[in-house]
Every structure is written in C-alpha cells, then in structure tokens.
Symmetry: C2
Subunit: 395 residues, 2 copies
C-alpha cells in the first residue's frame, strides 16, 4: 500500500489544472483560436527585455561553473543582498541578506514556511475566502489544519466578526493574499491595520506568537495607482512569500523568496526553521541562474498595460451583459457571481460556448467563477459574444 492521500491528490488534480488539461485537448480538436481558455494564471504578456538581457550578460561574463553551480541553501549571498536592498528602498524596511531565503517560487515559499512553523497537528492556519485552493493542500501537507473565514461578500475585505469567531488558542498563523487570486481584490490599509491589531491582541491573549503569512506573487500587478500595504511595516511577526512568476512572467522558472521580518521575535530561529524545512522538502537551492537574473530585474515588470486593457474591456462588457462582478484592482483575475447558484453547472454550460472558467467552489465561494484574463486582448474581444449568449440562457 502506498500513500492514499498522495494518490488521491495526484489523481484528482486541482480543478484549475483539470480545466487547463481539458482546454489543451479541446484546442487540439477545434484549434487554439476557437477555445476561450480563461483557466490558468499563466501570464500572456512576455517577460520584459531585462530578463533575456540579464541572462545574456551572465552567460557572456561568467563561467558556466559560476552560473550553474550550487548556491548556499538560502540563496546566493549577493542576490540576497540586492533583494533586501531593493525592498528597503521601496518599503523603508531595514532588512538584510539574513532575512531573505530564495525559493522555487511562491508554492515553495508557502510550503517551506508552513512546515517551519507547524509544531503540532493541533496547529491551525486561517485564511479568507476566496482563497487559492492549494493553500489547503500545503497546510495539510505541513501537518496542520486550514480554517477558512468568510470575507465580506460585497467587497471581499476581511469580516472581523467572522475572524474573531475563528481565531483560537491553536491559531499558528493567518495567510493573506493581496492582490487576491481569484478576486483581484486588494486589502485596504484600513483592513490590514485592523487585522494586525487583532493579531497583536490575540497574541497577548493566548500568550504565543501568531504569524502573518503574506502570499504576494501579485504585489506589482495593481492598477489605477492603488498601493498595496507592505505587511512588514504593520506587524512584526510577518513572513512574506514572494514569487517573480507574475511580475516578470516567469511562472515556469520557479523563482521567488521568503522574507522573515527583521522585527520578528525570535526571527533567527524562524529563519533557521525555514532553512531546515527547505532541506527536509528537498529544495537544495533555488535555481541558480534565475536567482541572478531576477536580482538584476527588480523593480521591472512585464507590460502591465495589457492586463489593465483586458480588465477594463472584460469588466465593462460583463457588467453590461448583466453579470455581477467584483471590481478587480490587481492581479489578472476577475471574479463574478454566477447567474445560477451551482457554479459547476454554470461552468459546464459555459463550455458549450468554448468558455473555460473555474468554478468558485474550491476558492471557498460556491456561486462565483474565476476568469484569468492574462490572455491576449484579441481572445477577450472574440469571447465577448460567447459571454453574452451564455447570459441570455438565464434571461
């Protein structure tokens, strides 16, 4: 007998991956242009030119041994120095290389952090709906429990009454994700302040640390001049899980980092536990060449204007057709209420029009669906009549 849990995780796959694989098949049947695949958060905008430029410079100026050799387990020293310096300059923090741990992307950042923090099977992590469904997989793999707390359904900010009911003596940490996948919502400064006050108070009440884990692969993907509060400036026991997947359109390269706040009580021990967890999970080091590439590309992003254009086009059309959308301020997702309560049935119906959408059930919001609009603007334009026809079925 092998692990039933792993077998079932492997057989069921995530719903998103399932739809993505269906889309792949369908495209081979009727042509890629005829399938409106909004399933996957795979950036459609190419990596900015700085990425290839940094790669070519590395290849021209360094020996292959220096480029492709092992780095320290926590990441190349000069890379970590550059990253902490950039965060300090941008957010006014006082981090150094010993606060940074390079990872194979955001999923690795989360898995390593959760494994480092989990000391007992009683430990609980809280997150807020809607949330990325893999959080449950990652928290359970670390040996802890995930509790989801319903957000305010109007604006998807945190509902603090609901949070107060969920938090308890076993709460080890709270995971936030802003800008949010799947809603595109950015937590306001007011929300972040109130969250941090709540956590600080609960730490006192229960007389132990409660960690704030900020999953931030979409930090740079915000529009209309909105700013995303940097959690380290609001709460000392903060861990940032960052990835360059979306900002630099490098999702397949698996490169990101963890920041352990310099103001964390016992931060050195937490950093050591992160090193230990990385080791125990088989992450010898983050990919060496891309560590050096991203260090040279900080502050740069893919061309975000395409996402803004896509969002505006899609949002205004869907509202016009009668869909009720949550206005997304960031990321490249749009979340809307389905005109029938069963989002899975709605998504099946959408397939008739070759629209591939992800039902909200796994995100903790059963009557919503997610559109990943990180596709070509042309695909959005071509898909609009399909969305219109789909809505007409409900009128």
């Amino acid at each position: 007998m092998i692990s039933e849990k792993m077998t079932s995780l492997g057989q069921k796959r995530s719903v998103i991956r399932e739809i993505f694989e269906y889309g792949r098949k369908r495209k081979s049947e009727i042509g890629a242009d005829n399938v409106f695949d909004f399933s996957l958060g795979n950036p459609s905008v190419p990596a900015p030119p700085c990425v290839e430029k940094a790669m070519q410079k590395l290849l021209a100026e360094n020996s292959p041994v220096a480029i492709h050799g092992y780095t320290s387990a926590q990441g190349d020293l000069s890379v970590r120095q550059k990253i902490s310096a950039y965060i300090n300059k941008t957010h006014g923090t006082k981090l150094d290389e010993n606060n940074i741990y390079m990872t194979c992307g955001a999923a690795a950042s989360l898995c390593i952090s959760l494994r480092a923090l989990t000391a007992s099977s009683d430990d609980e992590f809280i997150t807020f709906t809607p949330f990325f469904p893999e959080y449950r997989v990652f928290v359970e793999a670390a040996g802890a429990k995930l509790t989801s707390v319903a957000s305010n359904p109007k604006n998807f900010q945190i509902d603090f009454d609901n949070l107060a009911k969920a938090i308890n003596k076993n709460t080890k940490g709270v995971i936030i994700n802003s800008p949010n996948n799947p809603s595109g919502v950015v937590l306001s400064e007011k929300t972040v302040l109130q969250l941090c006050e709540t956590l600080a108070q609960k730490q006192k009440e229960y007389n132990h640390e409660i960690y704030l884990i900020a999953d931030e692969p979409y930090r740079e993907l915000v529009y209309d001049g909105i700013s995303v509060p940097y959690p380290i400036n609001y709460y000392d026991n903060t861990i940032i899980c960052y990835s360059f997947s979306k900002s630099l359109s490098l999702p397949g390269e698996r490169i990101g980092y963890i920041v352990v706040s310099d103001k964390m009580s016992d931060g050195k021990t937490v950093y050591a536990a992160i090193c230990g967890a990385g080791r125990a999970l088989g992450y010898v080091c983050a990919p060496s060449m891309f560590q050096k590439v991203v260090a040279e590309c900080q502050g740069q992003t893919s061309d975000l204007s395409i996402y803004v254009k896509n969002r505006d086009l899609l949002y205004s059309a869907l509202e016009r057709f009668g869909y009720h959308c949550i206005h997304p301020d960031g990321a490249f997702y749009l979340f809307f209420e389905t005109p029938e309560t069963d989002a899975n049935a709605f998504c099946e119906r959408a397939k008739k029009y070759e629209l591939l959408l992800v039902p909200g059930d796994d995100f903790g919001c059963p009557s919503f669906v997610r559109i990943a609009y990180c596709v070509s603007t042309e695909q959005i334009e071509k898909s609009l009549p399909a969305f219109e026809k789909l809505m007409k079925e409900y009128k």
Copy 2:
C-alpha cells in the same frame, strides 16, 4: 512554538554544508588557492557547450511565454517523450512519457518518491553504508524510518546476510546509489541481480510490494569502460531518481526526473501518488527552460576525462603515502580509511594543512573520509604534499 525538528535541521546544517561554509570563510582569509577544499560535490568541469547552445536556440526560436511559462505538473510533454525515447534507446526499455515525471533535481526526486510511497509511520526504507546523509532527512520528512545496512567493508558491495537481517514486513523500499556518493563504488551486475532476487522473494514472503529506489545522479560518471546495470531491466517495482546536476554540471539549476517502471504492478497509481506528492511539497513544475535544455543535451556530458585524471592522480598518490583507499569506479569521490579511528579528529588535523575533507560518520562509516575530487587538477597536484605531511603525523 515553531517546529523544533525543522529548527534543528536548519541550525545544524549538513556536515558537508558546514565544511563548505568554513572553506568559503577560510578562502577569504588566506586566498582561494591556498585552501584545498574537497568538501562539496559541486562539479568543477563546466557544462558542455550543448547547454548554452540549447539555451541560445530556445531564446532565438521561441517566445518568452513559451520558454518560461508553466509546463504540466509532470513536465513538458515533448520533453518527457524525448527523455523516455533516450532511455529506451540506451537501455532497451519500453517507457513512454507517462513513466517520466520531471523534477527539481535528485533531492526533489527522492523526497517526492518517498512521500508518495509512505503510507504509515511504520514504513521503513533500507539503504547501504556508506550513504548520502540527506537520505535520513528525506525519509524522516516523508514520515518513514531509515535503516542502514552495513556493506562489505572490503569493496562496499551489498552484504546480503546483513540485508536479510534488516528486511522485515515493514520494509517499503530499498534505496541504492550507484555510482555511490561517497565511495565512488559501482554495484556490480552480480550484486544487482542478487538484490533483485532477494527483493522479489521478500515481496512474496510478506505479500506486498517492495520498491527499489535507484538514486542515479552519477550514472554517466563511470570510468575504465565499466557499465552500470539499469535497474528497471532487473526488477519491476523500480523507481529511478535521476538528476542532470553532475552529468551536465548543472547542480544549481535543479533539474532531473523520476522514472516509474512501465512494468511496475499498479504503476499508474504510483505515478499518480508521485504527482500528488510533488503537488503537496510545493513543486508546481520543474524549471521550464532547463527542462527543454536538458532534453536537447541527453547523451552528452561534461568533460569526464578531467575526473579520471584527478582520480588517478589522487588515488595513486594516496596509496603511495600509505592511505588505504576504496578504488572508485565512478562519481567524483574517493573514500579512504583514516589512520586514526576518529574521522572527525582526522579531519580537524587535516585542516592544519588546509585540507577540507568530510568525515565518514554521517555516511555511516565512522573511520572513513570523503574527498570530492571534482576540483581543478592543479588543486589536486598542489594538495598532495599536504596529504603526505598529514600521513607522516601517524608514522
């Protein structure tokens, strides 16, 4: 309270990493040329030209989105097809893409496989001395137990009497590593045959599967025309954990794969569990660009003649000085008996001569040390008088 186990893993680091970091510090004090650092298996021979050639071809012919986007969780389809075709051609197997799962290197391959197979905390994995110390970390992180079985101390082939005593109803798998780190020993075909017969018989006796996990990052690094039996051809329940780290000198890039034998009973379920374990450990996909790069470089290796030269130089000199060495047929490690029983004391003494060696204790062989000779031939030549002086202290 956070995870004590992870904290201690992070604080203690592996002995090898510890010596590596000491070497780094020592080099900054007295100059890199004056430290004879034999601690780390970081290939000194550059990646072969096919690596950069494949990279440049990819960059020239494909969009950044195609190069850097997510692949399927199990790896890019055409990459898996190319890899299975290459293995079939080389070893006469009948694998296809559904037997291959791309990973972030050998450590990831092992962690994912062990997690997939472990169904209960009673499960045991057996390995043979000397063995890579991280096996214990990986097996325990998967929730199982590691049992080490002493090899024949004369030639480090498997001692089957010792194996018979260790194997029991809880044995879930056996890990072999040939060519071996730290000894460079290659398991003979006779040994492999006898091992597979033993396992087949024990499967019957206990009426459950026993998996053979072959950790093979050094497969191509063999000298003097010696051949390494391909375990899939000897035993149906075989999982191969492969990495391109050593063959293509890409250790920092974290790229490898798992092969689940096509002849494995219930192989599809095991493959699904591997997909599930990869997901649970946060491995979204293997680095996308290097998946495509290694698929174009199969059958090629770094210039192995340098390792042969280093081995011959070192082996003959050490034997001349009076050290008793195990003759290494592969990998880039040389294992020798220390002239005092305490290998740690010996390694401390060696530091006086700026020789950085790894004591055999963590490999399960307390009176041996490992030399990683993947360094420049010049470093070997320069270090020989230090080895000679060191031995004189014992005469």
